[in-house]
Subunit: 223 residues, 2 copies
DNA sequence: CGGATCATTTTTGCATGCAAAATCGAACCC
DNA sequence: GGGTTCGATTTTGCATGCAAAAATGATCCG
């Protein structure tokens, strides 16, 4: 009985698929912040009954993407500038540690992957590509810590930040500046200069956070 | 109509209660690591149907307390020493940042609360009280950062560590040593010495983690 | 004409029902 | 006797049903 075929059975249940699809919908900004999430409508859309959809909503609430109001349904988590500031501040702490650890632990494969991500950002300077490539770059750095617990939390924070890109409307000036910061990050990384890498990563995060908060202050939060 | 009565409506739905009760069961170590979580049995016990219980399981899985195996039910998250090491390592990063932030932001009330927690640990040196009081102490420090995002993640990590106390069986020697570390932490805190506080907190976490890992290596992981 | 009140509709939360998968056990074969 | 295979039982996953709560909006009163 197929000894080798034991790999990636990874049977995925319905509610699990719904979690991913719904999270994608939320990250795509299709629903405005604070918008009501109508169970019935999404059931139609996904072609499932309410049970797995509700289970998925619970998970997404635990992840911070939706807010559950007893007897009043779920809404897309609203964007509160205070919260966003705290989000970036906390992420800064993790970025810093990613620097400390990645500088020491990154393997050749990790470095190759990171160089690849960085190169893609260089060859695709257009803001439209920025979001995805930038995320890949930072995910590659996080992966180089080889700490799954850190990676998972970092990934969640990254996604919660990603959600904001529709308020802030990626700024070309900031994108260019961000690339320069990445360059410096790569220099520190290649030299395996832990403290330098850590500080540059945290500073990069702080600058991004400040840009987001400024944009947030400018635009009345929709939703 | 009762203008003042708007406070703490906080209506809590059934599945939410189940999340808390079930998490308490898991933290109380009633079920062994890796043990099967029988839906039917828990439904009887909590007096609810399977729907809210299953919703609760999804949340607890997202929080890292249970593991969901498609078509095979839920189990108490097994204890993998590697994972535990990563958990402590990551928590160390947060402890460090708690030190940096709390030293600067703690209010008089925060400090009073912290002193209170510390005093309780002094007056209750018995290992049986240690776990709860120690957790309060560190929670108070986390709260002094005034960063809810950090606090929530920290709280989750703390609880995931708490789960391990049944493998490691709180060691009196370590409890005494831990108190000394707390003393040093308090000294740094009172002086608002950020770096010192941060380093002491991280070291304290590392020492605790090492003790847990040693105990873990000694006892074959039950469950 | 503005605002409150109440009936109607809609939506939410939970219980139950049913089909598919997994588990268990007994019979069976080598 | 050890191991396998097949059927019965249990358990899981999802759909549906039903009661309670909220949202809607029409009516009434000032």
């Amino acid at each position: 009985m197929d000894i080798a075929a034991t790999d990636t059975p990874e049977q995925t249940t319905l509610h699990e698929q719904i979690v991913e699809r719904l999270r994608a919908v939320l990250l795509d900004g299709e629903l405005g912040y604070g918008a009501k999430i109508p169970e019935a409508e999404l059931c139609l859309r996904f072609g499932v009954s309410r049970t797995p959809l509700r289970e998925a909503l619970k998970v997404l609430a635990a992840e911070g993407f939706v807010e559950l109001r007893p007897n009043r349904g779920a809404i897309v988590a609203p964007v509160d500038p205070d919260d966003v500031a705290h989000l970036f501040e906390f992420k800064g702490a993790i970025e810093h540690r990613i620097g400390l650890l990645a500088a020491v632990r990154a393997t050749a494969a990790d470095q190759a992957r990171l160089e690849e991500c960085h190169a893609l950002l260089r060859t695709h300077p257009e803001p439209s590509a920025y979001t995805a490539l930038n995320q890949d770059f930072h995910r590659a750095l996080a992966a180089a810590t080889h700490n799954p617990v850190l990676v998972q939390t970092y990934d969640n924070l990254q996604k919660r930040v990603l959600r904001l890109r529709f308020v802030v409307n990626v700024n070309p000036v900031r994108v260019a500046q961000s690339f320069d910061e990445h360059e410096a990050i790569m220099v520190a990384f290649r030299a395996r200069a832990r403290l330098d890498l850590a500080e540059r990563l945290e500073a990069h995060n702080r600058l991004t956070g400040e840009a987001v908060l400024r944009a947030l202050a400018g635009s009345a939060v929709p939703g």
